[in-house]
Point group: C2
Chain length 334, copies 2
């Protein structure tokens, strides 16, 4: 059985209605993906097989296909592009796991836990180059250029986040700028390519790209909230890694900016001190000062902005699903 | 002063005549490279600035340009492609330094020594994606596809090497296959693109690609020899890392295959034991059993094979330099 086609329970639980209108095309994406990263070498093939176990939400492929169909007609290129962007996303996850020293992702051991950091880095590179190569098989330089620009921004965002880790004075504007680059850019690219390859008008392509961007920022705020207040069982991954690495996210930035000086000092002490788990120590302060609520409200505002961009589209099941997705990314448990 | 244009002393010492016929075009490559990886973010810009300090030999750009000129006329695309392949090479070096835990490259601290492993991984990714993006700016899907195929093979080779580390029974054929993928493939790609973009006949393109492949394998054998018997002062990098990681290279493979059983057992013991430095402990065995000489002879044979491919070209200063390069890669001190 193809493992890349298996285990979509998480996906269905999180976004029950997101996948239905493009279910057949998503299966095609899985086939393209599995074919693109296949290796004739047994040791490499074993790694490829393993990564299939922690397949993600397939949120990016779904958004690309839904956007494409909401804007017009799906063409074969849509599924290839969806596979390319999912591969880029998977490559960043593999490298993220090295960074975080994470031991578990999607209920299975991470690549670095099983194969060591060295091989995780090389496998992430393998996924990156296979993504780019797959993009070139379309024979469309426009797609390659858009993907190249996006991945440049994603990597610069990841790098900025890494370099800012430990900077407890990170501002909300800087935080939003970083998550725009490291997360929203790739999601915006999905919507951009989905609309573009359906032959949508430039104005519609621009609005769908903005939809993806607002959605992506909301998604990352929600993701960062899960790392602080989520449930490890439900998410299927190690949580609290952001605070362990002194990576400032929206609730903490809000808390530091609004809490009285003694509270801010205590929070700073928890963040920089050696004690573990920091997540549990921080939670009462975050709740009491409304920082969790604040971050949820910001995410909801962005989701509303995303929905507003969709008014340029005629009513359709896919447009409805895209509207629901904007809520789904904020109010999810995993 | 642009650091990417500075400090070419190493280069000149190693391959004195390699760069002269394309010196002006190599300066253009440096300009393109610096421009391609520039960042508006100060923290990222600092990392970019640092990587310029350990600029490599620029062997790949030089080979691409020399091949191009030896086959016909250089066009502006040649310099862009040369920058792309040098960026890919630099990305693998940055990730290699993480793998090796190396502290020094080209006489300056490695990225991971200065910024930590996390940021090194992200910076390597940044270089990878900027390489691909730069390739797309040519608007030629053919170049993007060739580069995508090559980088796929390079990463699979690196990954295979990583997965085989600790396998003291690696055969010579497996070793050659791995270095063909991880090193020779990229050098062959330089010669391929150089010839192709000069409008050379398919048969000439194929022969120049083979030239690059033989040269690349010879280059890597010589590189592995330097790691075993080279001088840290001359190479400007930490040596002995292959044996410390139980990465089998040609002299050791020869030794294990030809030495009497008690010697092979002792060598295995040194390789798997905790003692350091292994390199010094292994050297007498390698010398006594002719394993160093054997590896040099193999590299020389490959260099001769590379030279033979060049007979399809009319005599020219660039052809002469390419012939000399085949010897240069084997008999170098750094």
């Amino acid at each position: 059985m193809n493992r890349l086609l298996a285990g979509s329970a998480d996906v269905v639980r999180t976004f029950p209605s997101l996948y239905a209108p493009v279910a057949r095309e998503l299966e095609e994406v899985e086939r393209i993906l599995a074919e693109a990263i296949r290796s004739a070498n047994p040791a490499v093939a074993e790694l490829v097989e393993h990564v299939a176990h922690f397949r993600g939400k397939r949120l990016r492929p779904a958004l690309l296909l839904l956007t494409g169909r909401a804007c017009g007609r799906l063409v074969p290129a849509h599924a290839v592009l969806a596979a390319v962007l999912e591969l880029v996303h998977t490559a960043t996850l593999v490298h993220d796991d090295v960074l975080d020293g994470a031991a578990v992702r999607r209920h299975v051991p991470t690549i670095n836990a099983g194969w060591g950091n060295h091989n995780s880095i090389l496998f992430g590179d393998y996924l990156f180059t296979h993504a780019f190569h797959l993009a070139t098989t379309l024979g469309d330089i426009r797609a390659c250029r858009i993907i190249g620009e996006t991945t440049n921004r994603v990597c610069e965002g990841e790098l900025r986040q890494g370099l800012e880790s430990g900077n407890l004075a990170l501002s909300e504007a800087e935080y939003l700028d970083i998550i725009d680059a490291k997360t929203a850019e790739l999601i915006a690219c999905c919507c951009h390519l989905g609309a573009l390859f359906s032959g949508a008008e430039p104005e519609v392509v621009a609005r769908l790209t903005r939809y993806g961007r607002w959605l992506g920022i909301a998604f990352q705020i929600a993701d960062d909230l899960l790392d602080l207040v989520g449930d490890e069982e439900a998410t299927g991954k190690s949580l609290g890694t952001d605070v362990e690495q002194q990576k400032m996210t929206l609730p903490l930035i809000h808390l530091m900016a609004t809490a009285p000086a003694p509270v801010a000092a205590r929070v700073r002490q928890i963040l920089s001190g050696p004690g573990c788990p920091k997540r549990e120590a921080l939670r009462p302060y975050l709740t009491e000062h409304g920082s969790i609520d604040y971050a949820y409200r910001r995410a909801e505002d962005l989701a509303a902005r995303a929905r507003a961009e969709l008014t340029c589209l005629p009513p359709s099941p896919c447009r409805t699903v895209l509207e629901l997705a904007a809520d789904g990314v904020v109010h999810r448990q995993n």
